[in-house]
Symmetry: C2
Subunit: 347 residues, 2 copies
């Protein structure tokens, strides 16, 4: 087992001082040519790499980003992570991920564990429980300690920081409009509870589209799923809620769902109820992912461009980190554009 050499052992071996070695490796002009050669040759031979931890301690920056998301088994979030990773790596940063599992406590713990010097800044999508409790002290405190945070997707208006979002209301409006244009007479929405910011905004877009077309709003056609912070484990409950919904709304011929799972589950129930897609009922989902692509029939969705969102978030964070001392420019919120990818659940 070859131990990693340190400056100290190189210095001892070459009979020079530690500082000489350090300077030689950084090609300082203080050091003579032959010594530089000697040191570099030795370093290469023994595959010397500076110890990152020591550097972090010295520089007071770790060159790593903390990403905290509600869950990782979720196509949208992984796409975002990919974008973050790519950008971060290009800039020489690492990414450390924390999972909140939609839980307030785990979010607090994660923030806390990493805020002790392990990372330079956070990229965060807020847990549902946090959203519903409206308790944001941990986030505010982190920022107050000088650790920058960038929020994406699920965002908190009251907290001043950089944000990366999608224009949820405009996009939803556009999606519903498309349903209308395709001939739907009675359009329903399957959304989340209002404390989830995006659910609320997408519902607003839905309402705006109806109003804009002078269609009367039927509040029975608005289904707000209460999934107790964790969709994965409660799938039967979800199906049940949707089934009841369809039974009490037999005349809907268009569904706008705020995420893939809701859309696909609704399609399944609709099929079970004997409706054919898209002839009897059309569907548009939000958040384009593998599920939509491979659904039967392939689902028309609005793509949020998660990869791009990740890149943007990483860019915002790293830019802020690198010019920390310069003028503290005010916070930005970048809106990444969306796109409806038409597949076979719309006419």
């Amino acid at each position: 087992m070859k131990q990693k050499p340190t400056l100290k052992v190189i210095a001892r071996e070459l009979d020079v001082s530690v500082s000489t070695v350090s300077k030689a490796l950084r090609d300082s002009k203080e050091i003579g040519e032959k010594t530089k050669e000697r040191v570099k040759a030795f370093a290469k031979l023994y595959n010397y790499r500076p110890n990152n931890i020591a550097l972090s301690l010295k520089n007071k920056k770790t060159k790593t980003l903390g990403v905290i998301i509600p869950e990782i088994v979720h196509h949208f979030f992984t796409t975002v992570i990919s974008g973050i990773e790519k950008f971060a790596n290009e800039q020489g940063y690492n990414v450390i991920v924390g999972l909140s599992n939609e839980s307030f406590d785990k979010e607090v713990i994660n923030l806390d564990m990493l805020a002790n010097g392990s990372i330079d800044g956070f990229i965060l999508s807020v847990a549902k429980e946090t959203l519903s409790k409206q308790d944001f002290h941990h986030i505010a405190e982190t920022i107050d300690q000088g650790i920058p945070i960038v929020m994406f997707d699920r965002v908190i208006d009251e907290i001043p920081c950089d944000k990366v979002i999608v224009d949820d209301v405009a996009t939803s409006k556009k999606a519903v409009q498309q349903l209308i244009n395709s001939g739907c007479k009675k359009i329903g929405i399957i959304s989340t509870m209002d404390y989830v910011s995006v659910g609320k905004l997408r519902t607003r877009g839905y309402l705006e589209a109806l109003n804009h077309n002078d269609i009367e709003v039927d509040f029975n056609a608005i289904l707000k799923i209460d999934d107790k912070f964790h969709a994965a484990t409660e799938h039967e409950a979800l199906e049940k809620q949707i089934e009841i919904y369809f039974e009490s709304n037999p005349e809907v011929d268009g569904i706008f769902a705020v995420n893939e799972i809701y859309a696909i589950t609704a399609m399944k129930i609709a099929r079970k109820l004997g409706k054919s897609i898209p002839e009897d009922i059309q569907f548009i989902g939000f958040t384009d992912g593998v599920l939509s692509q491979h659904a039967y029939p392939p689902l028309t969705t609005v793509s949020q461009h998660g990869f791009e969102m990740g890149e943007e978030a990483a860019r915002l964070l790293i830019e802020r980190l690198e010019k920390q001392d310069e003028e503290t420019e005010s916070y930005q919120t970048v809106v990444v554009n969306t796109e409806i990818v038409e597949r076979e659940t719309t006419k």
Copy 2:
């Protein structure tokens, strides 16, 4: 902006020495009761937390695990990460993820970036390109430097280290047997190229099942997809290959696919060709994920229990880390059991 206090500022403020503060906080019996009280109160008031980086430097361990996977937008891998995260967090470890994107170079870079003190050990699933090049020097060198590695799923036999796998051949054999039991007369397999260890092993299981039932092997019914290291971007190519396959194998009435995507894509093509599932043709996939659950019809698959694999991998790694000095017990490879979850693509 409140800066995090250090031992030094607490010491100065309270007019004691740094060591006293450190000991007081760790409740050392060397320190008098009233001093302890004073220090603790002050620390709590200013929300003191020891700086992780300094600790890492001192202890020569970072309490973080490096996880390197081929891609993150993939249900199986994210499930594994969840398992790793859970176990690691319970033991006070953090997880830093690196993406190889199935590329050899990125795998090397990732290993390199993190091996410089940033992490205590690796959990790794090998990139396809690495597998096909058969160049494992980076992995061997990392281990040689004293950094333990645990491999999972895609594993390299030649490298001695802890491993977490699934009994690919036995499981595949079982899956194919099930197809046989359900009345399939001509069973095909859609696999990967042989350099992907799991593809090879699963194909072997398929062959064993046929032999065991005295069914003659038709090598034309074995399709090996060559997806040039990146399935996501080449979906049409995949469809094309499968379509050609079906046309030259019209009589197959059962398909065993080594992953979800292959299975679902094959189902789509089969449907397009007018076959009905499972009446005309049955399907079993490998790697149970959201896609299988929500496919139409819901796909029968073998579940690899990714979460459990992640937990096991983390356990192996952390155990090795914590008893580093004790007897260097030999490497383990744990085989997590699999399970066929029957849905609607089999009779």
